[in-house]
């Protein structure tokens, strides 16, 4: 009897296509591009702000106001919530389980805690920005 193991290598660049679980993972990973884009936008905003001139700030705001940006932000918001924020919360209890004595805190409690905290943080940021002041 001779051994001649047959190796089935994974295709390096297309391995995730045929598997729903892998595709979902890739959709999550590319959210890093959105994080990058919004970091860039924030830095751009800081640049305008730090010039010290209200005109340049006004020009920055004006540059943001067009239909393409509306569509982009709206799509980005939905995508980001689904694949970044909610995914991150879903995985959080795995990375940091909580145990009191003999009892493990159910993962769902940790996830719900994240949602509550997230709503609070979001309201706080919106309040800071003056959205909630009427």
């Amino acid at each position: 009897m001779s051994r001649q193991p047959y190796v089935r290598p994974m295709p390096k660049a297309s391995w995730y296509l045929g598997n729903a679980r892998y595709r979902r993972y890739m959709l999550r990973e590319v959210t890093c591009l959105l994080v990058g884009v919004y970091c860039a936008l924030l830095i751009w905003a800081l640049a305008a702000l730090s010039s010290g001139s209200p005109e340049r700030w006004g020009a920055f705001l004006a540059a943001q106001q067009n239909t393409a940006m509306v569509v982009f932000h709206a799509l980005a918001l939905v995508y980001y919530l689904v694949y970044m924020t909610f995914d991150w919360f879903k995985l959080a209890p795995k990375a940091m389980p909580v145990q009191f004595g003999e009892q493990k805190l159910p993962g769902s409690v940790i996830v719900i805690g994240h949602y509550v905290a997230w709503i609070a943080v979001t309201l706080f940021v919106l309040w800071l920005a003056g959205v909630l002041q009427t």
């Binding site: 679980r21 990375a95 940091m96 389980p97 003999e102």
Partner: protein
């Protein structure tokens, strides 16, 4: 009461290292009672249709961990994958990411070696222990790691892990879960010994938290969780050492 039966079309990947240059599918039609598992159907084929079919199994009760195969693309223990949950056409392949030895039997040498490297046993610095000493462990301490003791080394998690598939030098989910299990054990003192192997380039950091391993694990071990906890642990340890007053 007679059980309903269903005609199942099995497509089984065959590979004979002495004759074949590459694997090919072979079809078998088996009339299966609805309470059969895929393993029963394979046993039927072996006993009645084709005695040359090779596959591993032993206990038929989710304990031995030897009957892991791909069932319709999903890494599964075939003794707990039931006909009633499957369509009429079922594709059975050897576990993904492993070389095929013959038919549904894969080469496990690599992961056997990796499990060893995780040093999945209790390490004491005061070895050998005095003969009259018991290492007591409160229940709360046991529950910290109990889920990781459930692993039966079926290697379904390796078959699901794309990072292992892409780069087999990655030490992989079950071995890391094992290492974590002993790191968390209050009787163990070997954490620093395991750190070198696990935090190295092919250790925990190669995992990108796909989580596929945990989703397919038939024993709910959740190796992905173990790996993330080890990463968190590593990061916290580092900061502890850097912060003023930390042990260095």
């Amino acid at each position: 009461m007679t059980l309903k039966t269903r005609q199942l079309e099995l497509e089984v990947l065959r590979y004979d290292p002495e004759k074949d240059s590459e694997p090919h599918f072979q079809a078998y039609s088996v009339s299966c009672p609805e309470d059969w598992a895929i393993l029963d159907a394979l046993n039927y084929v072996k006993e009645n249709l084709d005695t040359t079919l090779s596959y591993r199994w032993s206990c038929h009760m989710m304990v031995c961990g030897s009957c892991g195969m791909m069932v319709n693309g999903e890494p599964s223990l075939t003794c707990k994958t039931f006909i009633r949950d499957l369509p009429d056409k079922v594709r059975i392949e050897p576990l993904q990411n492993f070389p095929i030895e013959r038919d549904l039997v894969v080469v496990l040498d690599d992961v056997m070696d990796k499990l060893q490297r995780a040093q999945p046993w209790i390490i004491r610095q005061d070895d050998p222990p005095p003969p009259d000493v018991e290492y007591n462990q409160p229940r709360a301490a046991l529950y910290k790691f109990k889920q990781y003791t459930m692993c039966i080394n079926c290697m379904c998690c390796y078959a699901a892990c794309p990072q292992y598939g892409l780069d087999p030098s990655f030490i992989g989910p079950a071995a890391l879960a094992m290492a974590h299990r002993y790191n968390l054990d209050s009787r163990d003192q070997g954490k620093s010994q395991r750190l070198d192997i696990l935090a190295d380039h092919d250790g925990v950091w190669d995992c990108s938290f796909v989580g596929a391993c945990s989703e397919v694990c038939p024993k709910s071990v959740d190796p992905a969780a173990a790996i993330q906890q080890m990463k968190v642990d590593g990061a916290i340890e580092w900061w502890k050492q850097k912060l003023p007053g930390g042990k260095s």
